[in-house]
Point group: C4
Chain length 509, copies 4
């Protein structure tokens, strides 16, 4: 790529001089880049780049990004190689005093079958993967294994976590009505999703920056999903390039892509064509996050770093809008996206369109009207608007108010699904497939093995649940297997109050 | 003011002689006053004055009052200057053995950006304001920063805190139904309140004695509100004089005034004319507290002091009605106030009338009948009658039983609103504006900066919530955005039982 | 009484010989009695007497009984005086190794205004009475002040405490709808109960063995109730004789009497005539406890003693039915009492009849049919049948199914009423008066003063609640002041399933 | 049995050679058996046998099985006696490093009436049986007394324990409506169950491997049940042979048998004939567990052992389906059992058929159609499919949707019944009898005495509850005594959504 300049060596003091927003260079893995033009386009926000201006930023870069992603910068921004005693050893990054130990260090505490720890059950040790019996175990383990920053970013949800909690609670409050004395010897839970074969009726919901959990990040997810025959929906904010992720799996493995539309539409157009060229099968247009929700745990983690840095004599930030990773990533998102833009996305990509984040019967009907291929009922895992209806409520709302949409498009759902029986409930109530998000991020503590292990657990739970319900294929899944009465009083039947024509009565005085 | 007497010096032993209810002098900031006539009129009750009778009461006075407020006593009650070695240094007050460290001492523990603390995260340290991400954070901080007495007074609510808890719980149980794919680039949340522009649809609910939290008390609130373009409703029991508070903001800044009608009506008439002359814009007549509620945390704090003083050989109080600050302040309140008195208040003040504390559809309809300009649905933050319906339930009750009142008057609400999304819920259901009370008191830990910081947080949360709901102005807020089904079964539709004509049957024996 | 025999002295060794069920003497306060005939009639059960057979039982006796109550034995059972070095000092009782410190010892830890404790706030110290702000405080204090056995007996309820908890919870879930702008200057809460004036609409529910809490026991209650102008309903299992209790108050003070009908009817007849002759005003016939409920905390306390005694070489009890104080006291109760027996009770006593323990609309209607003067909705404070409906639900059940009963008889209620506002809720919903039980027992930690203090608290809370509701007399109390919707779905409307005619199908084999 | 070979002695080294799946011998109580053919038929799964291959397995065997059960192997599999210094002392078993102390060791800590412990109330000591006042006490005690493995197996339920918890919660939420003033002197609670007399309307639900709790296992249960006049339903997975269990009681004592149908039908046919020949009275066909549920506590206990063994250099298990005792035991179960197989079971056994595990009204109606004698509403104690409806809900569902089934067959129920009043509730709502499972397992901590003690407690509670309800025989039990309104909104009335005919719309692209 940068062959022409390969002989040019740049000294550290030369690099250090380019340290302003108007002239900003950084070194990554011994290559020096001019990123001045890119500062405001950085999905992770400008400030994190400016903190690295004029320095060797390798350590900070590696924590979040795959090595190849920087090569996507224009070739003319490559300035040469950093002249250094041991160029591949990253220098102390500017934020070293606040950085947590990298994941790999943490993972070294993991108990393995060959390396016998003295006290295998002590609290801080990560148990061997065989000890993971179910998805909820993974959250407990991830909290121990990840850096506080990564844990905060992955686990946080909006403000008071009401929607986050309700997602799970309301799924659990659905009761199952098992049928007995049916031949359940042979069970199949294969499912077509948008016409693509999946060995199970669930897929991996898009989640950002998997490299925070494991060096292989989304590559591990792609390989694991492929081995297990399920589909990965790749996040717009992946740590690896789309190309690396897609290439990590065999050619026949289908992928979906989650799109945030950029306020600079041309960038989105370029991206969509890349997506199409890589053979990705569908576009999940994110519609539940025109702006990021307020994830306070995430912001608090960022805050903690800032405050410490302020105390030690650094900048005194007054960033009022918060600066957790979630907030930063969303700065480029188009806030003016409307229904009419969907046609442009479809035409540009030439791919089926799935709306990710539909939350009302009204919008489900609009989705049919606009010819969308599928909708995903989602509140962004409780990360967008706290207080929004739990996803499962929206599924029931559609059943109650517009059952006809299930005949016109496929309906997916995510938010709070952690068990095979949870997935079965959604299928019984009409969903085509269920997205599973955070548990897969957490499974990355064990890399690709973790992704496969979690998938096998969910499949096993699903199979057991189907047998215990007396069904042998998902075609037999139907609402009569579910008693929804504990939450059905919460299902709205549309507008019940007329808007008020408020008359601002003039004071009589 | 008291120039004529300025040469007269009074010795401490002379002062000490006037120490009975029949002849009671006190010294404040080196001036000696005869307060015999005022003992029973003191909003804070007589006993606290009698404890200071014949002494230098400066310290006790300063804890609650602004320096200028004593100058409102009639001029002839000024007796001269206290002759003292260092007259401005207050002598040990009579209650010194029980007083907590003054707020300012507590605040000195606050971590600042310039003064680096050794252990910035240790439990007792007040974090820098930047660490405050949301209103609930402020309660945690205030509990640490305030004196126990001030914290008890601010945070306490009636008896078992049922209404206090329900206010917040029921707001949280309202679910939001976000709409997607709408252009939400430009958002405005300006609101007219009684015809006055507010940059946001919330105002500062009246709360008493802000000086307990910060020396600048209500002045800081006035300045912060003015800078942020929102309206402050001044409490009858402010620490500062009305004049000082109004003058703390630019002339164009509107104020409201919360009125407790005095059982001596003439005093109220005088007060209303002062209010009008100061350019205050409306009178919030307090109707939910003809007598004070029973705030046991507050009374317990007072009790603790009394018991300690009793144990150390002092008086053995038998005050059966409790003597927390809340109880004391309410002794002068007119218990006989009725609907027919409203006209007199309106005429005397020449100002719009808002009824603060309406709690039923029946009274909302009466408010329309009596030509009131607005009503505020409030249960005094759960401080009046424990067990009273949560405020949000009353809003739904009005929607269900008398939607027409929304066309005749403006409806405000307070009680349990801590988030931008909480505020949006009330607006969607028909409220014109939402009052925020305790969080602003707690924000005073950071003085005026805290008031502005909290306002910015609420505005930001509101803006994010509107965008995520798919609306760009409050005119688009409407009930279809809210799923009320989790609490709607609690909304009464009026009398459902006929009163019983109980026949006291004579015993047959 | 026993003058004729007063010269006869009985040696301890002589007493010791009468130690069998067939020949059982005990000494109490230096008098020796033959109680052989009484063993099986003892309300507290035979075993406790047999444990004292042939010994000086003064200490055990005093813990539960007033001195005079033993004089009710027939005169010919007095055998003479015990010859002893210091006859009034009780010898070590047989159960001394398991007895807790007597209440008076515990009470000596109480902080008083004159006797300054070193650490006035340390956990185990009983606070001065002024620190008691509300009824719930008393339970906390009683738990510390009483012996474990007394606390277990007073506080225990049936098995899993479900009804005990629901009594209180459901009262709290009633919401109040306060009305505003009414003249509430002058408030009266006087009430006629069965035609007798009470200064408040509540009375003291019958509770057993008050001497466990204070040496003055029911005498203190009688004096306090009289001073405060409320009525005491005396328990069948009082520590003092009826005569002593009635005589403790002035002649004009009315009393009620709670009756357990004895399976030996003649004893009940004798008792009823005593009641009538003492001028007691009404008979509360206990109908919710034909057998005692299973109070496991109480039984556990008894069990603990037995086990310890068994371990130290004593008897190995195999009493399968439990032997807590509650169980023991109920052994003499008539299990065959029916509606038709009421006329006999009325005729024998010549007094109004109140049925204590009505729990269904069906039985309320029967009470009208049988000409009962009043019914008391009660589940024995949750001590009888665990799982029984909360008392307040029964009140609503009557309103819904048979409102006419309120015109034919008075309706009282107890169970979970701890606040003035709780009492007001019941009055609004149709109750004539509310019984308060356990809080008065707990108030006895402070003796008569405690009884008066609690009464004043409840009156004050009631008065404040009435004012804040906008009413000035109980005649204005009505259902529209109460929002019952949070519990109204629990109110039955009678039989909804037909009983099943089960056909025991013969097996086809 | 094996007389012919009794002279043959086998050396330990000879035994050790037969240690593979193809040639597997084990020694038990000094007899050596060839179990090669039996490895895959073992109800407890093959792996536990393979771990013992070629060793003296006496200790492992005794933990779970009665000594006689191995004699059920074909005679030609007996290979001779083990030549050993002390042949009856089991050698160190292969899993000794992970085995917990055997139950008998644990039980030696039990406090007894004769052996006085120093600190009778210290936490780890098992209290004497007299201290057990109710069934819930037994769970607390069993957790202390049993090995962790046994406790995990007995107490565990499926995945998130939702159904397990709801079983109990919903029974508790049923409210009782006691009637008063009825003659309740003489109470009878006898009940015919399938035509067999039971002294109480409950029986002992089948539970597996009682020897884990007590060496006498099911024999103790049989003797206790017989003494108390109630019926035991023997588990398919009992520790003792059916013959031993049946012979432990007098000939007139009736037994039921719980059947898991084996996928090798001939084995089931043989078993059914044995059952018939032993005089057992009915077959409870297990229909709620065609595959085992996922009991994570149980699997975690097994996992802990495996991981420890893996760490110490042993096998690295990758058993994805879990290997708790519950999973292992179920491997032989027929997954293809259908309604049409019932006739074969009936004919083969010549006994009445009870379906254990009916969970819907639909299946209850099918049971009538297929001529079943009784159904047992059960979700396997929450151990099968987590999220399944609570048992009591199914009873109400039958009442609502198909009350006629109660006239055609008997209805039993289990799951969450721990109190006499719980049992009474089910009887009132139409159940013929109630099964009690786990509490009886826990009672085995005290052996046969525990079984009798628990039975007496339940009878006493039932009798008290009946008296307090005003009934004297179970014929008077009827739905009007129960207020079901707190859970009735959860009772389904059948299919409410039509299944969706999903049209996989082809993507328009």
């Amino acid at each position: 790529m940068a062959e022409a300049q390969e002989t040019q060596l740049i000294t550290l003091s030369e690099l250090n001089r380019h340290n302003s927003p108007q002239d900003c260079w950084i070194a990554v893995h011994s290559k020096v880049w001019d990123i001045t033009h890119f500062i405001r386009e950085h999905p992770g926000g400008p400030s994190v780049l400016l903190k690295c201006a004029g320095t060797n930023a390798t350590a900070s870069f590696d924590e979040v990004h795959a090595p190849d992603i920087i090569e996507e910068l224009p070739k003319d921004k490559f300035k040469g190689f950093l002249e250094q005693p041991s160029p591949d050893t990253p220098a102390t990054p500017p934020d070293s005093e606040v950085s947590s130990p990298p994941p790999s260090e943490k993972r070294s505490q993991m108990a393995s079958s060959v390396d016998v720890p003295a006290q295998p059950e002590e609290e801080d040790v990560i148990p061997p993967m065989e000890a993971v019996l179910a998805a909820p175990d993974l959250a407990v383990i991830a909290k121990k294994a990840l850096t506080p920053k990564a844990w905060a970013f992955y686990s946080s949800a909006a403000t008071d976590l009401i929607t986050y909690g309700k997602n799970k609670e309301l799924v659990q409050r659905l009761m199952i009505r098992p049928r007995v004395l049916r031949n359940v010897k042979d069970v199949s839970f294969e499912r077509d999703i948008l016409g693509f074969k999946s060995r199970a009726p669930f897929f991996i919901s898009p989640t950002a920056m998997a490299r925070l959990a494991h060096p292989d990040g989304e590559l591990a997810v792609a390989r694991g999903a492929s081995n297990e025959g399920i589909i990965q929906c790749i996040s717009s904010n992946a740590s690896y390039t789309l190309k690396s992720i897609v290439n990590a799996a065999p050619p026949e493995q289908p992928f979906f892509f989650q799109l945030y539309v950029n306020s600079e539409r041309q960038k989105t157009a370029d991206l969509l064509r890349t997506v199409r060229d890589l053979g990705i099968k569908a576009i999940f247009v994110t519609v539940d996050a025109p702006v990021p929700g307020k994830r306070e745990a995430d912001e608090r983690a960022a805050q903690a770093i800032k405050i410490r840095s302020a105390i030690s004599g650094g900048e005194s930030s007054k960033d009022k809008k918060g600066s957790g990773l979630g907030r930063l990533m969303a700065q480029y998102i188009e806030k003016a996206l409307t229904w009419d833009d969907l046609e442009w996305i479809r035409e540009t990509s030439g791919l089926p369109i799935v709306l990710k984040g539909v939350q009302t019967a009204e919008d489900a009907k609009l989705a049919v009207k606009y010819g969308v291929d599928a909708i995903m009922l989602s509140n962004h895992g409780g990360r967008s608007l706290d207080g929004a209806q739990a996803s499962i409520l929206v599924l029931l709302e559609l059943r109650k108010n517009c059952p006809e949409v299930f005949e016109s498009l496929e309906v997916y759902i995510d938010g709070g699904f952690e068990r095979g029986s949870d997935i079965l409930k959604a299928i019984c109530l009409g969903a085509t497939a269920v997205g599973v998000g955070r548990p897969y991020l957490y499974s990355l503590v064990y890399g690709q093995d973790g992704v496969e292990h979690l998938t096998q657990i969910l499949k096993d739970e699903l199979e057991v649940s189907m047998r215990l319900c007396g069904i042998t294929s998902l075609d037999q899944a139907n609402p009569s297997l579910i008693n929804t009465l504990d939450i059905e009083h919460l299902v709205t039947s549309g507008d019940r109050f007329e808007p008020i024509s408020r008359m601002h009565r003039l004071s009589k005085l």
